[in-house]
């Protein structure tokens, strides 16, 4: 046996027969990740972050925006306008019926339907309750301005004063 062979033999280490993984550190890391996730989710359940946006609605993006405390959610999706989860008007590809838009919108069936929905909701809500006069417009970015305008005008007619437009921050 020459010197090189003897040296190589000496250097080879014996591996233990039962290889134990150090999983305690893995458990620690997973626990920390879990705590951070729980923290971030619970932090997101306050104020405007708690808005539950219906699937299919793509909110408009902005670079920065403000926060909202309390409000009544009005959702404008492709086929409907919902006030606090209840259908208030029907839309056709984000638009009101063509018959409505051709004539006097204020006298149209859509505007009447929206007005009565906002009016009924206003009567139902105590005026001193938090967010009673604030409307959160949660509308799809593809909706035409005419639709948003009609919804806002109908709410304003019933005395709602503050409007907040829900947007996605950072886009």
């Amino acid at each position: 046996m020459n010197l090189r062979q003897r040296f190589a033999k000496k250097k080879r280490k014996r591996m233990p027969a039962d290889l134990n993984l150090q999983i305690t550190s893995l458990a620690d890391v997973l626990m920390i990740v879990l705590i951070f996730l729980l923290k971030s989710i619970s932090a997101g359940l306050t104020d405007s972050q708690s808005i539950n946006v219906t699937k299919g609605i793509r909110l408009p993006g902005v670079l920065s925006g403000g926060a909202g405390k309390e409000g009544i959610k009005v959702e404008v999706s492709e086929d409907r306008v919902e006030l606090a989860g209840q259908r208030a008007a029907t839309l056709y590809s984000f638009r009101f019926g063509t018959g409505d838009l051709n004539g006097d919108l204020a006298a149209s069936s859509t505007a009447k339907s929206l007005n009565s929905a906002f009016g009924a909701y206003r009567k139902m809500t105590p005026p001193d309750s938090p967010g009673a006069s604030t409307i959160w417009i949660v509308a799809d970015r593809r909706a035409p301005y005419a639709t948003i305008q009609t919804v806002v005008a109908s709410a304003a007619m019933q005395g709602y004063q503050d409007f907040k437009l829900a947007v996605v921050q950072g886009e």
């Binding site: 999983i23 305690t24 893995l26 458990a27 997973l30 626990m31 990740v33 879990l34 996730l37 729980l38 971030s40 989710i41 997101g44 405007s48 972050q49 808005i51 946006v53 909110l59 408009p60 993006g61 902005v62 670079l63 920065s64 925006g65 403000g66 926060a67 909202g68 838009l101 959160w136 509308a139 799809d140 970015r141 593809r142 909706a143 035409p144 301005y145 005419a146 639709t147 948003i148 305008q149 806002v152 005008a153 709410a155 304003a156 007619m157 005395g159 709602y160 004063q161 503050d162 409007f163 907040k164 437009l165 829900a166 947007v167 996605v168 921050q169 950072g170």
Partner: protein
């Protein structure tokens, strides 16, 4: 005499943490999958005119109106002590936020007391573009009134 060591129970024991790790991994995976990774913000607006006009009517030095049309060109109209109308063409199929901001910034220097701007858009302009114009306005004039009713 019985040796003490034979009565002594071993204090060393091992917790089986493999099922804990399994449960944690599944929890983390579900939470990552269920998480919402965008932040929702709010833009304040008020309505120009009508029953709910909450902005007190007063003799303002100037009135600023930003009007977005279907081509996404923007007309910035100023009336009052200064009368001016500037047309800002769209850039890359978007409203030109930079130039809107520049134009309003110039007005802000001359009329610092004016904080309100009315935003009007044509019926077919997409909501996203209206919001883009609003965002540009809010940098200099925080009170935005939705107009055209």
């Amino acid at each position: 005499m019985i040796p003490i060591s034979s009565h002594k129970k071993s204090l060393e024991f091992e917790i089986n943490i493999i099922p804990i790790i399994d449960a944690l991994t599944i929890l983390v995976t579900f939470m990552l999958a269920a998480g919402v990774y965008y932040s929702i913000a709010m833009l304040d607006v008020k309505v120009s005119g009508g029953a709910s006009d909450t902005v007190p009517v007063q003799k303002a030095a100037i009135t600023i109106t930003v009007d977005v049309d279907e081509t996404l060109a923007v007309d910035v109209k100023v009336t009052g002590q200064e009368t001016r109308e500037v047309r800002l063409e769209a850039v890359n199929a978007k409203v030109d936020s930079v130039r809107i901001n520049q134009e309003l910034d110039r007005l802000k220097v001359r009329f610092p007391q004016i904080v309100t701007t009315t935003l009007i858009a044509k019926k077919e302009v997409h909501y996203q573009h209206v919001v883009n114009a609003m965002e540009a306005i809010r940098k200099t004039h925080p009170d935005v009134l939705l107009g055209g009713f």
